[in-house]
Subunit: 259 residues, 2 copies
């Protein structure tokens, strides 16, 4: 069945959604069948891939709280080999609605451990998480084989990293013993300033091989692409951002064989 | 008593904390007595002002859930006229812990509507919110006179703006009829690219005078400052970031007289 990777970091604006969209489309371009599951009530991944409100009649809210099947809510995108299970604002009340529910942290796992999903043909499922360690992100980590951490090359993002690592360990101990860290990818790297380098040095010193070799540079084409409902690979294929995400996809896939 | 301003935006990484710290310290430099209330479990405002864990024995968790007085949890900072009520990770369980509590959206308001706070000598209280429209942010909006919205000059941030405006209206209708929008400030503006300009045009067209004239430029000194536990005004007073936040403080104070 598909390998399931949660893209998580409680710090806001570090590139979770951008990585879901662009790593996903880069892997798709390499022939991998990719599903993005959007569990952020903001629905940025869904918007960034051009999924209109009409195409979100069923969303990950229905997957988690209405017991709908993944196949029912999944839609194709303009990108070959890339599908998405979109999110809507309904999700913002999910953790309140689930308070009494003793299965509340395993809802996504149950939705993904079906024969239908196993036989879906997807090679990878990438889960785009909200900026929080709330119930939605916990569901993603409980349901996943690994967690990919986008790390913005700035001070506050670095500060939050140890908290995230603690949460991953907690989920491993309490609900998902085989949960691994897929890797930490430095994002929005600005090679003209010292701060990016310091964050990189810190990360590599503390996390060693967990940190991808590939670094995603700050590149305006990356932030322009979603306004055209396109991944940067399609919007500007030769841009530094596009090339970096292609490189990240190749590195991630290479690393799979070593496991 | 002090004017209370919530700094809110559910989109992550748009400059809420950076604005709390730097607008706050710029106003303090103009002689205003400022209190920052940090209600983000990440505690970035507290970290960015150098508040160590030992000085956070009492935090906004105790203010909201243990009924402690604001005066008990407030600490001074290295910045003259600037105090802070710090946050800790305990806050991350606040909304779950408060589920049964019928007063859960008015807890912060009650903590701030005391004689002690009225006579505290603070001119302004700035509340730094997490990237969410969850219970913590709702508490801030219910407790505040106005909401200041940092708007990152990029596509996803613009997308989230109407959702935020709806939430403000909802809070106004349900719990706080005098809640206003203090203003929307464009942050991390990159004048070299078109996207920033497009976001600005969109914002000014749709929100008119709500948008501050002052624009905060993207400036690496702003992102370096918190790693020295300093506001950018103290870290690099002549930097473009420092000058812009000083200008924002002056503009905000000027606008008070027109109300
Ligand atoms: N490499 C890059 N170069 C330039 N801009 C980027 C880059 N990566 C992301 N961005 C922009 O930075 C902003 C934040 O990125 P993004 O929304 O992907 O982060 P996020 O972690 O998903 O945020 P949230 O916490 O709100 O979910 C977006 O406007 C995005 O377009
Ligand atoms: N004008 C600026 N120039 C350069 N970097 C900036 C600027 N404003 C903010 N930053 C940096 O951008 C990142 C996000 O800013 P900040 O943490 O203040 O946003 P936030 O909205 O509080 O995020 P969160 O949603 O996680 O609370 C931080 O690393 C910050 O230092
Ligand atoms: Mg996102
Ligand atoms: Mg913040």
């Amino acid at each position: 069945g598909p390998k399931i990777i949660a893209i998580a970091n409680q710090k806001g604006g570090v590139g979770k959604t951008t990585t879901a969209i662009n790593l996903g489309s880069a892997m798709a371009a390499l022939g991998q069948k990719i599903l993005i599951i959007d569990i952020d009530p903001q629905g940025n991944a869904s918007t960034g891939l051009g999924i209109d409100t009409e195409k979100r009649e069923l969303s990950t809210y229905d997957l988690l709280l209405e017991g709908r099947a993944l196949g029912d809510i999944t839609v194709t995108t303009e990108v070959e080999n890339l599908s998405i299970a979109p999110a809507t604002q309904d999700l913002s009340s999910a953790d309140i609605e689930l308070v009494g529910n003793e299965n509340r942290v395993v809802l996504l796992r149950r939705a993904l451990r079906t024969d239908a999903v196993r036989d879906s043909g997807f090679d990878y499922i990438l889960i785009d998480c909200p900026p929080s360690l709330n119930l939605l992100t916990v569901n993603a980590m409980v349901a996943s084989d690994s967690v990919l951490v986008p790390l913005q090359s700035e001070f506050f993002a670095l500060e939050g990293l140890s908290q995230l690592m603690l949460s991953i360990r907690e989920v491993r101990q309490m609900a998902n013993p085989t949960l691994r860290v897929e890797g930490v990818v430095l994002t929005m790297y600005d090679s003209r300033n010292n701060l990016s380098k310091q964050v990189e040095d810190d990360a590599r010193e503390n996390l060693g091989d967990l940190v991808f070799d590939t670094i995603i540079p700050r590149n305006v084409r990356v932030s322009e692409a979603p306004s055209f409902a396109l991944p940067v690979l399609h919007y500007d294929p030769t841009s530094r951002g596009a090339l970096a995400y292609k490189e990240l996809a190749a590195e991630l896939l290479r690393r799979q064989d070593l496991l």
